[in-house]
């Protein structure tokens, strides 16, 4: 998006006053409204769709496969695909590595272990239909929902196959399937990533496209189980007018994400629990 110098300076000024005035009248710690649904893909274990008010939309599918644990280098695989964009672009690779960096570290891998030999391998495939602002925050919300809605078939064979090699067998009844993340236990929820924009002395969460254009710097902040977790990383949201930041900004972003994160998790969990019936039409 190209802003005229006048628009740019208006936006910059209104975002740098105390408290910031955002173009859509949100407060600094407020997200854009999202529309979310999950479990609509018939041939995936878990799926979700999140749409932002600016038209940005992502669809995530979680598929699992039974693998021999010793043959795999990682039990989680993440792939991001953007409509009308090449797979190997710098942009996509950066998104993938940010997501990997938090998911691989904060994913409760024990949950994937089936037997002594076998495990589930989780494939997280993300598809971005359209995006205007930096889609990392959107993707992270979407992955959270998809993982929370993921169901795994119930193992019927024995867990201990150290002595006798045995292929795991599963209960055919999908009703008996188990959720990967049980709704009752919240201590091991999937991690989230938040994008924070910085202008002047202000930090604000979930920047829209216009806000990104004028922001001086940005931060990606990881959040899991009510706490800030690495990776925390600075990133340039626009290629113009970037400036350095101070530790104060980082701490401010911190407390903001810590407060927002809990609310976001709560909101997402309601989506998961209300969307429990499977394979409904999504639009």
């Amino acid at each position: 998006m190209i802003l005229s110098p006048a628009e740019r300076s208006y936006l910059y000024d209104s975002l740098s006053v105390q408290p910031p005035v955002r173009p859509d009248a949100r407060s600094a710690h407020q997200f854009r409204p999202i529309e979310a649904s999950c479990s609509f893909l018939p041939n995936s274990n878990g799926s979700s769709r999140v749409r932002l008010s600016d038209g940005g939309e992502a669809i995530v599918s979680v598929k699992t496969q039974v693998v021999l644990t010793k043959n795999e280098s990682s039990l989680i695989s993440i792939d991001v695909d953007i409509n009308k964009e090449r797979d190997d672009s710098n942009f996509i690779k950066n998104l993938i590595s940010s997501l990997e960096s938090i998911l691989l570290k904060k994913f409760p891998i024990e949950k994937l272990k089936l037997t002594e030999r076998y495990s589930f391998k989780v494939y997280i495939d993300c598809f971005i239909l359209s995006h205007n602002s930096y889609p990392l925050g959107l993707l992270s919300l979407c992955i959270y929902l998809a993982l929370k809605s993921t169901r795994l078939p119930l193992l019927t064979s024995t867990v201990n196959d150290r002595e006798i090699e045995e292929q795991p067998t599963f209960n055919d009844d999908w009703e008996a399937s188990k959720k990967l993340f049980e709704p009752s236990e919240h201590q091991d929820d999937p991690p989230l990533l938040f994008v924070v924009g910085i202008i002047g002395n202000n930090v604000f969460i979930d920047p829209s496209n216009e806000e990104e254009e004028v922001s001086e710097n940005g931060l990606i902040v990881g959040f899991a189980n009510g706490e800030i977790v690495p990776p925390v990383q600075s990133t340039n949201l626009s290629n113009r007018d970037s400036k350095g930041i101070s530790p104060k900004h980082i701490l401010k972003a911190y407390s903001m994400v810590r407060n927002c994160g809990k609310e976001v998790v709560k909101a997402l969990n309601t989506v998961v629990s209300s969307d429990d019936d499977v394979f409904t039409s999504i639009y």
């Binding site: 018939p42 041939n43 799926s47 496969q65 359209s130 039409s281």
Partner: protein, 242 residues
């Protein structure tokens, strides 16, 4: 697997002339496109986004040398049962795009859109047979939603032949086993704008298949028409209430 039982039932419980659950919605992505639609044929789910008519980026240099209508299909790796990565330049997908462009160039009143481009992008969310028909139906709806002038609806369905019985609207398993015909019909007429056969079929069976196919297409057209009218009324009521 038994494709068609002697009692006249198919593997998923349908009779020979029954279509799968057909659902469609238009104007699903009003913020990210000029026209959009979502079509579900059984477990095949397709989203279509149309942007345009808009100025073509290179209009100054080469005045409409190539077609003004472009179609791109994205198949994310989760669409089929087995996870398979589709390349952007996959031959099969390119071929489908060409079929779709050829069909819709005849249906859209192109003379109304000189020096502009209409770009259609299709995202397949889930694939269970009948990919081309659902793409055709989704594009028809999305073009209508974008307000692009067309001569009529194009509705599409596939018909397979089991022994001597025609089967309407095949799913993925049936598509693998039977030879089938994909056809697109213009409105309520018997004009065929798309006909695709990729394997063998004896000529004396063709008429039978076409007949049932056309009826199926008309049925689909009616459902789409209903959705368009429902949406139209919704919009109208919003305007009059203001």
């Amino acid at each position: 697997m038994e494709v068609y039982s002697p009692e006249g039932l198919r593997a998923d419980g349908r009779r020979w002339n029954e279509v799968r659950n057909f659902k469609c919605h238009i104007n699903t992505h009003q913020n990210s496109s000029d026209g959009s639609s979502y079509v579900e044929m059984g477990n095949t789910k397709v989203v279509c986004l149309v942007s345009g008519p808009m100025e073509s980026p290179s209009s100054g240099r080469k005045p409409n040398s190539s077609s003004n209508l472009t179609v791109s299909i994205s198949m994310p790796s989760f669409v089929s049962n087995s996870r398979k990565k589709f390349k952007k330049n996959d031959k099969r997908i390119q071929e489908l795009c060409i079929f779709l462009v050829k069909t819709f160039e005849q249906i859209v009143i192109m003379k109304n859109y000189p020096r502009t481009i209409i770009s259609i992008s299709i995202v397949v969310l889930s694939q269970d047979g009948g990919l081309l028909p659902s793409c055709v139906n989704a594009i028809t709806l999305a073009l209508i939603d974008a307000g692009i002038s067309m001569y009529d609806y194009v509705s599409s369905i596939n018909v397979g032949l089991y022994d001597t019985t025609p089967l309407l609207d095949l799913n993925h398993l049936e598509e693998n086993d039977l030879s089938f015909l994909t056809l697109g019909v213009v409105g309520k007429s018997e004009k065929i704008s798309l006909l695709l056969l990729e394997d063998k079929l004896s000529l004396d069976n063709l008429e039978k298949l076409l007949a049932i196919g056309i009826v199926g297409c008309h049925r689909i057209r009616d459902i789409m028409d209903q959705e368009i009218r429902r949406h139209g009324n919704l919009r109208l009521s919003k305007i009059t209430n203001k």
